[in-house]
Structure formats: C-alpha cells, structure tokens
Amino acid sequence: MIPAIPLWAREIADGLVEAGVRDVVYVPDNPLSHLLGALKTDHKDMRTTIATREEEALGIAAGLYLGGARPAVLFQSSGLGNAANALASLLVAYQIPALLVISMRGEEGEWNSAQVPMARAVRPLLAALGIQAFTLDTAAGAATMVRRAAALAFGTRTPTSCLLPRRLTSPDPPKGGAR
C-alpha cells in the first residue's frame, strides 16, 4: 500500500512550485521521500535529480541557477557537513541563490547518537556562512514560509534554508521511548 502523502509534504511541495522552483536536486532521506512523493503526485512538471553527494547537489544547483533556473536542494542535516565548502566557496562567494530544504535528524526524538553532533552543528554552521535558517514547525502555513524563504533567496541572491524538524515530519513517534 502506498502511504498517503502527509499534509506537510504537500504544503512544502506547493510552496516550492509557487516560488517558481522547477528543479529539485536531492540526496535522499526518509522524510524527504514524502516531499518527493508529493512533487511526483501533485506537480508532474517538477524535474527532480538525485545526486550522489550533497556538495555535488549544490554544484548542480549552482549550474542550474547560472543557466536561468531557480533550484531547490534537499538533503538531510548530516549532509550539510558534506556540503559546507560548496556552499561557502561557490554559492555564498558568487552570490548564487538556492533554496535549501534540510531534513533534521539528531534533535528531539533521536535514538542514534551518531546523528546528534552534526545536528548541533547545523545552525551554527549556517549562521557562520550567513545563511538564514527558517524552521518549519507546523504543516499549516508551511507553503507560505517556503515561498517567503524562496523570495529571500532569489530576491537577495543568497542561499537560504528551511529546516524540517522531526516534530513536523514524524509527528507521532512510538511511545515508551524511541527505538
């Protein structure tokens, strides 16, 4: 059975389309699969490209922008570590915008200790690069927030990020402690 597409994923997909994004480059992650599903179901003209690594995804996104597109890049918080230099020395240095949609691990509800250190580094790393981070806490209004973040990115030519915490993407964790 194909699970129903959750509202948060539909909202973010709608927000991306309303922002003029027609290219999504991504490295897969479990919650992001719902967003990709929403794009595939509701927005068939969205081109999605899977990359092998996050810095590669940012290189592809930079090329898309240089060619006239408005790219979004999707990856997990752990992948921000892989992406740091491409963000810093390509997107930030050349003022090349992209909307980053980062699915968070290592925060509330996390059970895997290896995910926690990079999660703690996400906001300080983005802040050090001058990249604003907007946390999408609820499905309601997520489309508007994505659109606003994209307006900031493409209007001011700076990469801009939306963070997707697990309280958004997995609102019903197992009771009695996560396993």
């Binding site: 309303e18 922002a19 003029g20 290219d23 480059v25 081109r47 490209t49 899977i50 990359a51 092998t52 690594r53 810095e55 590669e56 995804a57 940012l58 290189g59 592809i60 996104a61 930079a62 090329g63 898309l64 922008y65 240089l66 060619g67 006239g68 597109a69 790219p71 230099n85 491409a86 810093a88 020395s89 390509l90 240095a93 050349y94 003022q95 090349i96 659109r147 994209a150 307006a151 493409f154 209007g155 001011t156 030519r157």
Partner: protein, 196 residues
C-alpha cells in the same frame, strides 16, 4: 602537449559555448587563452566543476556546455560522472586536463600517475562517449567529434604541467553576472520586483 597548449587549441573551437573551468590552473589557462564573458572561472569548490556543468546543461539544453576539469579535482567527485550518466545531457562536454598531479598545489601525484584511467571510469559510470588523447592532433579530432555529435562526452587529455598563467578576474560576483548575461539570463535589478 602542455595544458596551456591544449587549452589554446580548445579555445579555438569556442563560439557560443558556456565554459566552466575548475579552480586553479585550468581556470588560469582558460583566461590566458582568451577571456570571454561565457567563461565561468571557479575560485573555490574544488571538485564540483563538472557538476556545475551538468546543472548548466540541464538548464540550457540547446547550448553546448564545456567543462575544463582536472584529474585531481574530478577524483574528488567521481560520483558526479554517475549522475551525468543518468541525466545524460547530450550538450555536455567534459574535458579533463590529466597531468597526473595536483599542479596548483605543488605537483603531488594523483592516482592517474599510477595508472588510474578516468575515461574508463567515466564509461563504467554510464558516460556514453569517452576518449583519451595525448597529442594536439588527437585532441583536435576528438573535439571536432564532441562538438558535432551528441554526448555527454568525457575527453581525457593527457597534458604536461605548464605552470600558472595570469589570473582571471578575482571578483566572483562580476564573473557570475557577466557569465549569466552572456548565456542570456542576465540577473535583473536588485529591486526585487521579479520575485513573488
């Protein structure tokens, strides 16, 4: 042939192509061969030049996109060859200046100096058109093919290090804006009235 000789030879083929040059000597040589607005000189992000080329080729499928990468930098991001194999943009030509060393950083050997074969790697990762050339004539003939027949192409050109040339413009934003104007997508004013 030296990398600068090879770059000059390639430069003679260029008309409306968008060109992306990896940081360091590939970018310096492209500038030395002749500055052009549709040349994007990378100053950082080692390894992702071919990925930038892929994105450009996707955004502008009717324009030929040429990437000047290096053996050391491509080895940092071999996975992108697999992505290029999957996306398969017919208008993308990747030229790898393979001198077997990290020329910009003092000549430390790369794996190609010990026999690693980037053209075979590209073919194994799904790139349909690959070639290895080591003379100016062979490079010229292969470029004639790559500029006429559908790709994506990976052309590995065995070159000798020619030392650093003059530096391209240092202003990254200038490079970007000039490049985008040249490929027909000039950034609009910063008033923001083009955004939603």
């Amino acid at each position: 042939m030296t990398r600068l000789d090879a770059t000059r030879l390639l430069h003679r083929w260029l008309t409306s192509e968008a060109v992306v040059a990896s940081l360091g000597h590939p970018a310096y040589d492209l500038y030395a061969a002749g500055d052009r607005a549709a040349s994007f000189y990378a100053w950082g992000s080692m390894g992702v030049a071919s990925s930038i080329g892929l994105g450009l080729a996707m955004a502008q499928p009717y324009r030929r996109v040429v990437v000047l990468d290096g053996d050391g930098s491509l080895l940092m991001n071999l996975g992108t060859l697999a992505t290029i194999g999957v996306v398969a943009p017919a208008n993308l030509v990747i030229v790898v200046w393979d001198n077997g060393e990290y020329g910009t950083t003092g000549g430390q050997p790369t794996a190609t100096a010990r026999g690693a074969d980037l053209a075979r790697a590209a073919a194994a990762l799904g790139i349909p058109r690959t070639a290895t050339v080591d003379t100016p004539d062979a490079l010229d003939r292969t470029l004639a093919q790559a500029f006429a027949e559908a790709g994506p192409w990976v052309v590995v050109a065995k070159v000798r290090e020619s030392g650093p040339g003059p530096k391209p413009p240092l202003d990254c934003v200038f490079i970007k804006q000039r490049f985008m104007e040249a490929v027909g997508v000039a950034e609009r004013s910063t008033r923001g009235d083009d955004v939603q």
